[in-house]
Amino acid sequence: MLKFIGKRLLWMIPSLFAVSFLAFVLIQLPPGDYVTTYIATLAASNEVVDQNTATQLRERFGLDDPLLVQYGKWMWGILSSGDFGISFEWQQPVSGLIWERMALTLVLAIASLLATWAIALPIGVYSAVKKYSIGDYAFTAFSFFGLSVPSFLLALVLMYVAAVEFGADVGGLFSQEYETAPWSIAKMVDLMTHIWLPVTILAVSSTASLIRVMRANMLDELPKPYVTTARAKGLSEFRLLTKYPMRIALNPFISTIAWLLPNLISGSVVVAIVLNLPTAAPLLLQALMAQDMYLAGAFVLLICALTLIGSLISDILLAMVDPRIRLE
């Protein structure tokens, strides 16, 4: 078991490097560097930057170095002192802007994951046990519908319904008075009253595939002899289901975290932008639009790292549950 975890952890190192390099290349993709953008921004407000200042800025940020040297410096800054560079638009270190938003992104992702499970598990089991019943068909239809509605559209429609029917404003994660307040119990409660909407939206679009996985797994297990044996022993139907076939059917469920998480985070980006949540996504979009590339790069790097860690956790969990995998 330890050997498996060790191997899996070792594998994280090249993956994280690949991700960081990818994020860095993405930073470098737009034509021009950020000094050119800076000059353009200042020129727009009728300020003139002379050539000397531009050269000084370039030197300060090492923008004339070769790509790999720049990458090395960037990575060194992050690894040695958590320095992600300077956000251009905000005129302050990137590290000061990202952490709270990343934390909320994580909270949103985990809450959505839990909600997805909470919805998919009982529905999947129900659909398998009552195969071809009206309920089964209804849930199948629902899951195909959830798969087909883009999450931002769902967010828009729910916002529309909330605004027109209930006159409520459902954007954001906090009420106005808590937005800048320090963390407290009251702020947590306030978060809970807001977070359900994005969580529901994300869960609806991701439960679809999970319901089908769960249903198929249960259908494979239900006709097996051990189920008949348990039933013959007089176990109640509920106890029988939860004690034997469900536990086996849950197995591939865990492995789905690995691909569910990237999907959830992808989806949360769009939903967060539509609902204007204080997570990483709206700031990322803004940074990309303004070509504030260090900020954007930090977000891309952290979001990708988050999903890699998610798949690491799911692999370890799976190995803990299923001995066949760790022996492989």
């Binding site: 993405l26 798969l147 559209l153 529309y160 992808s266 979009l285 990708c304």
Partner: protein, 373 residues
């Protein structure tokens, strides 16, 4: 189920039927998938000649029709005796006496008949020739028919949705085609050679699959220069979408290659001295092409959703290009959708298209392997 499909037909017919015949028989039993097939075909026909199905010029602005609501089509006229034939009432613009806000009322005193195959604005058919015949046309050009209402600039939402189908549906196909090429080459190499190459490719595929796609697409799309012509934008967006889309297909191809590599007929071909290329393309590819088609069908809706999301966020296609995602940008703020909920119509088109393609792909996947089960 497939057994049933085959035994329902005479057994001797099933014995001599080709693989594709068997797949078709199995597929036909899927009611939902069959309906989806027809919907998909119909939508792609619309996407092929959107001009014919549109009513008004999708780019024409009409200041007097800003946020004009959808008009109902009446089939029977009972106001003056009885007559059959579709017509609509033109909208009359009035103003709220207090707020001066525009209010549209159906002017029931006037009737405008709708013509089939009537004349309207001129459009180009696939760039080959021009035509001005439309499936539906208002008989009075000064009183346009807004089937799904009009947007902020008084443009016809229905015609724009129809026009948007061309870009949105084709981007799915083109994107999947590029992904498929990458997937077949990389997945094929991985599955055919196995060993260390396979191990390495598997890690790369795992890596690509573990990345959240939307932030990466956003970052790549943000790097595109703003002033590019529409066709270049279109190509770049498709390529961006394919760069992450190939991994899923590569995995399917690899899995199939691995399982087929040990089949007797491949071994037999190899012992007969058939060249590698011919084994792959003549012997292996036909036997898993049905699976590939099913996976591809399931990849198209994902691409459509991706393009819609990107364009919606403002980093995909840019107006004046018309795609469903671009159209949904109009529905971005709560104010405009509160006054004009019909701006959601492009969203309905997305949902129908994606649902039909998903169900179609699902049916194909179930029917793809007529020999198993």
């Amino acid at each position: 189920m497939v057994d049933a499909a085959i035994t329902n037909i005479q057994p001797d017919r099933a014995a001599v039927a080709s693989q594709w015949q068997l797949i078709w028989w199995a597929f036909k039993r899927h009611k939902l998938a069959m309906i989806s097939l027809w919907i998909t075909v119909a939508m792609y026909i619309v996407a092929l000649v959107p001009g014919f199905f549109a009513i008004n010029d999708p780019v024409a602005q009409n200041a007097r029709a800003t946020f004009s609501p959808p008009q109902r089509i009446h089939l029977f006229d009972t106001s003056n005796g009885f007559s059959i034939g579709p017509y609509f009432h033109p909208m009359k613009l009035t103003r709220d006496p207090q707020t001066l806000a525009a209010i549209f009322v159906e002017d029931t005193t006037k009737k405008v008949p709708i013509q089939f195959f009537g004349r309207g604005y001129e459009y180009s058919v696939l760039g080959l020739f021009n035509s001005n015949v439309h499936l539906l046309a208002s008989s009075d050009p000064s009183r346009p028919l807004f089937l799904f209402g009009a947007d902020r600039l008084g443009r016809d939402v229905y015609s724009r949705v129809v026009q948007g189908a061309q870009i949105s549906l084709s981007i799915g196909l083109v994107g999947v085609f590029i992904s498929l090429m990458l997937g077949i080459i990389l997945g094929g190499i991985s599955g055919y050679y196995g060993g260390r190459i396979d191990f390495f490719m598997q890690r790369v595929i795992d890596f690509v699959l573990s990345l959240p796609t939307i932030p990466i697409w956003l970052a790549m799309a943000a790097a595109l220069p703003q002033g590019w012509p529409a066709t270049m934008q279109y190509m770049m967006i498709t390529i961006i979408l394919s760069l992450t889309g190939w991994a899923q297909l590569a995995r399917v191809v690899r899995g199939r290659f691995l399982s087929l590599r040990t089949e007797e007929f491949v071994a037999a071909a190899r012992l007969d001295g058939v060249s590698e290329g011919r084994i792959i393309f003549r012997h292996m590819l036909p036997s898993f092409s049905s699976h590939i088609i099913a996976s591809v069908t399931l990849a198209v809706p994902a691409m459509i959703l991706a393009e819609t999301s990107l364009s919606f966020l403002g980093l995909g296609l840019q107006p004046p290009t018309i795609s469903w995602g671009v159209l949904l940008r109009e529905a971005q703020n709560i104010r405009s959708i509160a006054t004009a909920p019909w701006l959601f119509m492009p969203g309905a088109a997305v949902v129908v298209a994606v649902m039909a393609l998903n169900l179609l792909g699902d049916g194909l996947r179930d029917a793809a392997d007529p020999y198993n089960k």
